[in-house]
C-alpha cells in the first residue's frame, strides 16, 4: 500500500486506478494495447487527438522530441532537425493512422526490433530505468493521440 501511495502522489489518480487493476473508462493502459500485426486500430482515449498540441509535443525536448531524430519541413522555423530516422514530410501519405499509432506506441513491434526509436507508450523498456521514470511511459495516452493527429496533417 505504501508503494501504491507513492505512485499516486507522483502520477495522480490515473495511475492509482491502474495499479489497482481498474481500467479507467476511455484510457487504454500500456499493457492492454492490442497490436494487430504492426497496427493499433483503436484510439487510446475517448478524446479526439489535438493536432496543435501534437505539434508542440513533436519538438518538445522533454516530451516527444521527435525532432531530435527526424527532419520535418513543417517545423522549419525550429533549429536542429536530427537525421537519425527518415524525414517525416508527407508521412501520412505513407502510413495509415493505425500504423502510425503502432509506431508511436512501440516502434520495436511496429518497425523493427533493432530500431533506436523509443517506444513512447510502454513500460517494459530498458534495464536500469532512472527512478524518476520507472514504471512510466514517455508520453501519456492522450499525448500519443495528439501527436498522431498532428502526423495526419503531414500529407504529400
Amino acid at each position: 500500500m505504501k508503494h501504491a501511495k507513492k505512485i499516486v502522489t507522483v502520477c495522480g489518480a490515473v495511475v492509482m486506478a491502474w495499479s489497482a487493476g481498474i481500467a479507467i473508462a476511455g484510457v487504454t493502459k500500456p499493457g492492454d494495447v492490442k497490436f494487430d500485426d504492426t497496427k493499433v486500430t483503436a484510439p487510446l482515449t475517448n478524446e479526439a487527438g489535438d493536432a496543435a498540441k501534437g505539434k508542440l509535443l513533436f519538438s518538445n525536448r522533454k516530451k516527444g522530441n521527435c525532432l531530435a531524430c527526424h527532419v520535418n519541413k513543417d517545423l522549419a522555423d525550429k533549429p536542429f532537425h536530427g537525421e537519425i530516422g527518415p524525414p517525416l514530410d508527407g508521412v501520412a501519405s505513407r502510413y495509415s493512422a493505425s500504423e502510425m499509432r503502432g509506431i508511436l506506441i512501440n516502434a520495436k513491434v511496429a518497425l523493427s526490433d533493432e530500431t533506436i526509436m523509443p517506444g513512447f507508450y510502454m513500460v517494459n523498456t530498458g534495464a536500469r530505468v532512472a527512478k524518476k521514470f520507472k514504471g512510466k511511459t514517455i508520453l501519456s495516452a492522450q499525448q500519443i493521440e495528439d501527436i498522431l493527429a498532428y502526423l495526419q496533417t503531414l500529407k504529400e
Binding site: 522530441n65 536530427g82 537519425i84 523509443p118 530498458g126 530505468v129 532512472a130
Partner: protein, 280 residues
C-alpha cells in the same frame, strides 16, 4: 537526452557554423601532437573504420585543440605537473621522488590503461593506480575521482602518452573484462531503451538534434568540455550518456564502468591518445 540536447544547442550556437563537420583525413587537419584521427578497423570488428571524436566537432572547437596555448585542458595538465612534484602524505614523498621525470617514466603508461594488476587480481584504471600510489607509497589520502587534483594528475600522466597508439591489454586475464564491457555496451538501458551502440555504432556521423554523433571513443580523456567548463573523466561522460537516456548510471570507478573503459579502449585501437582533447 533532454539535458544533452539543450546544452548542445547552446554550444553548437556558440561554436558557430557546421560547414566543416565530418571526419577529417589524416594529414589534412589534425589536433596538436597527434598524427592519426582515423584508422582502419581490425577485421571482424563492428566498425568499418575507427574515428576519433575530434572529427565530430565544429572548426572552432577543433582549433582549441590545435594549439596547446589555446587548449583550456592545459590548465589541468600544468596543475598536474605541479602536483607531481609536491610532497604529500606521512611518508614525505612526491610522485617525482619515485618516478622522477614523468616525461620518461610515464611515457606510454596512460596509453595502456586500464592495466591488469597481478597483486590485486583485477584491472586498474589510471585513477585507481594514482590512488594506490597515494595510499600505499605516500601514506596520503585518496583523491576523489572527479576532484580537481585527480583530473589534473590524470590529464598530466595521460598527456605524457599523447600521440602514442591506444594499447590496452585485451587478452589473458583481461578477457572477461572486455567481454563484460562489450555486454554492457550493447545492452539497452533507460526509459528511452537505448544501448551505447544505438547511437555510437549505428548512427555515428549523423546529427541527433544539434549534436553530431561520434563513435564515442575514449582516446581524448580526460577531456575539456565546453559544456562542463572544465576537464572531466571518462566515467563522468559515461554517466552523462546514461542519464540522457533516462537510465540509472553506474558509479565512477565501478566494475561496470571499468569494464566499459577497457572495452572502449580495445574498440578504439588504432587511434592515438589526445588527452586533453577539447569537446563541446
Amino acid at each position: 537526452m533532454r539535458g544533452l540536447i539543450k546544452a548542445a544547442v547552446v554550444f553548437a550556437l556558440a561554436a558557430g557554423g557546421f560547414a566543416n563537420f565530418g571526419p577529417v583525413n589524416a594529414g589534412e587537419d589534425l589536433p596538436a601532437g597527434v598524427t592519426v584521427v582515423k584508422a582502419p578497423a581490425a577485421k571482424g570488428g563492428p566498425l568499418a573504420e575507427i574515428l576519433s571524436g575530434w572529427g565530430s566537432r565544429s572548426k572552432s572547437t577543433q582549433q582549441l585543440q590545435q594549439d596547446d596555448f589555446e587548449n583550456p585542458g592545459y590548465l589541468w595538465v600544468d596543475k598536474g605537473e605541479t602536483l607531481w612534484n609536491t610532497v604529500d602524505g606521512k611518508a614525505g614523498k612526491s610522485c617525482a621522488t619515485c618516478h622522477d621525470d614523468a616525461s620518461v617514466s610515464m611515457k606510454g603508461v596512460g596509453a595502456a590503461m586500464p592495466k591488469w594488476d597481478a597483486k590485486l587480481g583485477r584491472p586498474m584504471t589510471l585513477e585507481q593506480r594514482v590512488n594506490a600510489c597515494r595510499t600505499d607509497n605516500m601514506e596520503a589520502k585518496e583523491w576523489k575521482w572527479e576532484s580537481d587534483q585527480m583530473l589534473s594528475m590524470t590529464a598530466y600522466v595521460k598527456n605524457q602518452s599523447r600521440g602514442m597508439p591506444v594499447n590496452v591489454q585485451a587478452d589473458g586475464p583481461m578477457e572477461p573484462w572486455v567481454k563484460r564491457g562489450k555486454e554492457l555496451y550493447y545492452t539497452r538501458v533507460g526509459q528511452l531503451n537505448m544501448s551505447c551502440a544505438n547511437c555510437h555504432e549505428a548512427n555515428y556521423g549523423k546529427f541527433i538534434r544539434a549534436d553530431y554523433l561520434s563513435q564515442g571513443q575514449s582516446n581524448g580523456f580526460p577531456t575539456y568540455r565546453l559544456k562542463w567548463q572544465k576537464v572531466g573523466s571518462l566515467h563522468r561522460r559515461f554517466k552523462g550518456c546514461m542519464k540522457n537516456i533516462r537510465a540509472k548510471p553506474y558509479k565512477r570507478g565501478s566494475d561496470e564502468f571499468v569494464a566499459m573503459e577497457i572495452y572502449l579502449a580495445q574498440r578504439g585501437k588504432g587511434l592515438q591518445v589526445e588527452s586533453p582533447a577539447v569537446r563541446n
